[in-house]
């Protein structure tokens, strides 16, 4: 009884692995449905096109995942995306020359919002939902007051091209590549570096992390800053994709990013899940959306279906994933 069987790699957590597997299984199913339901639906460049045009969600969801992992929740991402869009277009003023500066400012704005979120959560010790909601609302109020409802400036033509262009003659959209890059960065940081492991512990049990000398506050704040950054990147890409800044385009992304993470097996209680899972979650949402549009499903039915699917998928996941004594 006392011997130590060394089955499984030391990191293996059956829980996580199973839900991860399940997330991708779902994604594959959706993909197949999409494929068979439409003429030459399996054409790779179409798939890549879909991924490219939904990169914004993918990127934002990764930041959301990091925050969720440390027991947080970022309800401000949508507003942050819009803020980034407004800043971008105002500073770009339609000139390609301004692009670098504009990008820098937009991302900085996003990071700043994240920083404020993090500091409020850590120092004022407010519940994340509330803190980020409040900050988000304030940000929204801010850009409305400043723009009086009308985004200033314009997107530089060169930058607009960027959204549709891509590597290998445009088949691999830049947006998708950025998404992959962000995901890779997050995954490697979390699972292949020591700080990453510490970060996981902060989410799994802050008190323990604190006692183990891990900078609870530093890590928590870092997560929110990361989320602010990804939100800004997402917002910037969305703007490039659309061709003009919008004060409302980001709104739907807040809950969508949470949904994606949760479908991907990220626990709202922190410490459990991974950007890799979220990646699957995004695929599921995106494919589903595409299927519904291509089937010409009326908007109300689409709305209802998406809601139902979200619930059903959670239920199935739960059936599928055993829960141990540790579950709480």
């Amino acid at each position: 009884m006392t011997e130590l069987s060394t089955v499984g790699p030391p990191l293996a957590r059956p829980k996580l692995d199973r839900s991860l597997l399940f997330g991708y299984a779902l994604a594959v199913v959706c993909f197949l449905v999409l494929g068979v339901s439409t003429p030459d639906g399996f054409a790779p460049d179409r798939l890549l096109g879909i991924l490219g045009s939904n990169a914004a969600l993918g990127i934002v969801a990764i930041g959301q995942t990091l925050v969720l992992l440390c027991r947080g929740l970022d309800m401000s991402v949508g507003f942050t995306m819009n803020l980034a869009a407004v800043v971008l277009s105002a500073t770009m003023a339609g000139q390609d020359a301004n692009t670098p500066a504009a990008l820098g400012l937009a991302l900085a704005a996003g990071a700043l919002v994240g920083l404020v979120n993090g500091l409020i959560v850590v120092w004022l010790r407010l519940p994340p939902l509330l803190a980020t909601l409040a900050v988000g609302t304030a940000v929204q109020g801010g850009y409305y007051v400043l723009t009086k409802g009308q985004p200033k400036g314009a997107i530089a033509p060169g930058f607009r091209e960027f959204a549709d262009g891509g590597a290998f003659g445009g088949t691999l959209r830049w947006g998708f590549l950025v998404w992959l890059a962000v995901w890779l960065l997050a995954a490697v940081l979390l699972y292949r570096t020591v700080p990453g492991r510490r970060f996981i512990v902060v989410g799994a049990n802050p008190r323990l992390a604190f006692l183990a000398g891990v900078g609870v506050r530093r890590h928590t704040v870092a997560a929110y800053v990361a989320s602010g950054l990804t939100a800004a990147i997402g917002g910037v890409y969305l703007t490039a994709f659309a061709g003009s800044a919008s004060l409302t385009a980001g709104a739907s992304y807040t809950l969508a990013s949470v949904a994606a993470a949760v479908i991907g097996g990220v626990a709202l209680t922190g410490g459990i899940g991974s950007p890799t899972g979220t990646f699957a979650g995004v695929l599921v949402l995106v494919f589903l959306q595409t299927i519904l549009t291509t089937w010409d499903v009326p908007a109300p039915v689409q709305q209802a279906t998406q809601g139902a699917v979200l619930i059903v998928m959670m239920l199935v996941t739960l059936r599928f994933v055993r829960r141990g004594r540790s579950d709480r």
């Binding site: 089955v7 957590r13 829980k15 996981i200 512990v201 049990n205 006692l211 141990g324 540790s326």
Partner: protein
């Protein structure tokens, strides 16, 4: 020993060939037990032997794979409510009180006196107060549970169980955080209930209590019922070897008297704050400094100050003689001070994470890598320590939350064995809920450490343990040091007297 004479009545509780496996681990295999009215059954076994699981099955909290439970001859349907209805009450190993409610509200939770749909608050208070008095528990029914000491909470928990006037009362390690006076309260209570014909199952790792409380004994080993019989037929040692499956000759290894006191690695000078009053204390390499005291008299605070969890409001902390601000655990760890907190589930472990992750948490670059994380290296290091601790887990990848209480404690302890530069190890009640075998191993390891020149600070409410392990016993009463007794020639009476403030400091 009144309870010994209580005449066994009809069968209160019968378990028929109960089995339960969790994924890989067999927790309980084909166990049949019976408990007569008025009997007090000692259920013993190593950590992970399956005691809690078996009890949880009886209390309906865990659904068995096979087997059934009968109360007074009627088969029990699954579910806590059903069990409760059938007159089974259980005090769980993990406390289940609600900190947002008062003592009274907790005691009568789910059984509040109501007129129509509405709860009668006055009736509630009075009933609760009465129950507490009956049990000889002196607590304000209106006190918020959140503010009670662990010991007091445990008493409330017991009161809550007894309030339902159970036919069968299950106490899963109820004394783990009780101090001796409170244990007396519990004993009196158990005797009374047994007289009334309640069948009682008593799970504990504290031998002397087992012999004091119980009439019968059942021994679980690796999930199977190894032996059962009258406790009267068992000697201390026989019981232990029955549990562990081998002889535990002497629980406490001999003191390797660290000759020639060296200078303290860690010291407190007139430290005050967090309920402490000018504490002065030397922690010396190669010695076990025991800190005795009744629950909530500040000994845990001392541990936290030493570990940098709390910064003293006045006074000095000296590391290797040099005044240092140990105002964060990070700094303490950097100074080579390790800390094992008492509330292992909430502060000591990340239950969802693997054994490896939990153990290697503070492991330095050598174990998990400097920046790039080295899983293999970590696994190797962890596996070695796990083996040394005889840790019972399916793999180093198993989630710690799935381990038994005692094995969780081992993980917590093993964490610091992975630290090469460990100079001081501060342990707050490290053997709470840990079985004898494991305790022997842990004490052995503590000695190894002291032999290696590590200084050990051992906070404990179990005076026996301090008498057995400590080189010096520092006794605390109301946040003050009332005396320091050399461990060798200390007696329980002496330490208790100091701990109860009955003896003025010399």
């Amino acid at each position: 020993m009144a309870d010994r004479t209580a005449v066994p009545g009809p069968c209160r509780l019968v378990c028929e060939s109960i089995s339960k496996t969790f994924g890989g681990t067999v927790a309980v295999r084909d166990v049949s037990l019976s408990l007569a009215a008025g009997e007090v059954l000692a259920l013993v076994g190593e950590n992970g032997a399956g005691k809690s699981t078996l009890m949880n099955v009886i209390a309906g909290a865990v659904r068995p794979d096979s087997g059934q439970v009968l109360v007074d001859g009627t088969r029990l349907s699954h579910g806590p409510q059903a069990a409760r209805g059938a007159g089974i009450a259980m005090v769980h190993q993990e406390l289940s009180l609600f900190g947002n409610l008062t003592v009274a509200e907790n005691v009568l939770l789910g059984a509040e006196p109501v007129t129509g749909p509405l709860i009668g608050e006055r009736a509630l208070r009075e009933t609760a107060a009465k129950i507490l008095d009956d049990l000889g528990i002196h607590l304000d029914p209106d006190a918020g549970v959140a503010r009670l000491s662990p010991g007091q909470r445990q008493l409330v928990e017991i009161a809550k169980a007894v309030a339902t006037q159970p036919k069968v009362l299950i106490l899963d390690e109820p004394t783990s955080s009780l101090e001796s006076t409170q244990v007396d309260v519990l004993h009196a209570l158990v005797v009374r209930l047994a007289r009334r014909g309640t069948g009682i199952v008593f799970v504990s790792h504290r031998m002397n209590e087992l012999f004091r409380f119980c009439t019968k004994v059942a021994v679980l080993r690796g999930g199977e019922l190894a032996e059962e019989g009258d406790l009267a037929d068992y000697s201390h040692d026989r019981l232990i070897s029955a549990m562990v499956g081998r002889d535990v000759s002497d629980l406490y290894p001999a003191r390797t008297d660290a000759a020639g006191r060296t200078d303290p690695v860690l010291a407190l000078r007139e430290v005050s704050g967090h309920g402490l009053h000018d504490i002065t204390l030397d922690v010396v390499p190669g010695r076990v400094t025991g800190i005795a005291g009744l629950e909530g008299h500040g000994q845990s605070a001392i541990a936290e100050v030493l570990a940098g969890v709390r910064a003293p409001t006045s006074g000095q902390v000296l590391v290797a003689g040099a005044p240092t601000r140990l105002n964060s655990p990070a700094k303490a760890i950097a100074a080579g001070v390790g800390y094992v907190p008492s509330d292992r589930r909430t502060a000591g472990l990340a239950l969802a994470l693997s054994v490896a992750e939990n153990m290697a948490l503070v492991g330095g670059a050598g174990i998990r890598g400097r920046f790039w994380f080295r899983p293999r290296r970590q696994a190797a290091a962890v596996r070695e320590v796990a083996a040394r601790l005889a840790l019972r887990s399916s793999s180093t990848g198993q989630a710690v939350g799935e381990l038994s209480g005692g094995n969780q404690q081992k993980v917590l302890f093993g964490r610091w064995l992975l630290r090469a530069d460990l100079r001081v190890l501060v342990l707050d009640d490290p053997t709470r809920g840990v079985d004898v075998g494991a305790r022997e191993e842990i004490f052995g390891l503590l000695r190894e450490l002291t032999a290696r020149g590590v200084a050990v600070v051992l906070v404990s409410t179990d005076i026996q343990e301090l008498l057995g392990m400590a080189d010096d016993i520092v006794v605390i009463y109301e946040g003050r040091i009332t005396g320091t007794v050399p461990g060798g020639d200390a007696t329980e009476e002496r330490v208790l007297a100091l701990a109860m403030g009955q003896e003025v400091p010399a």
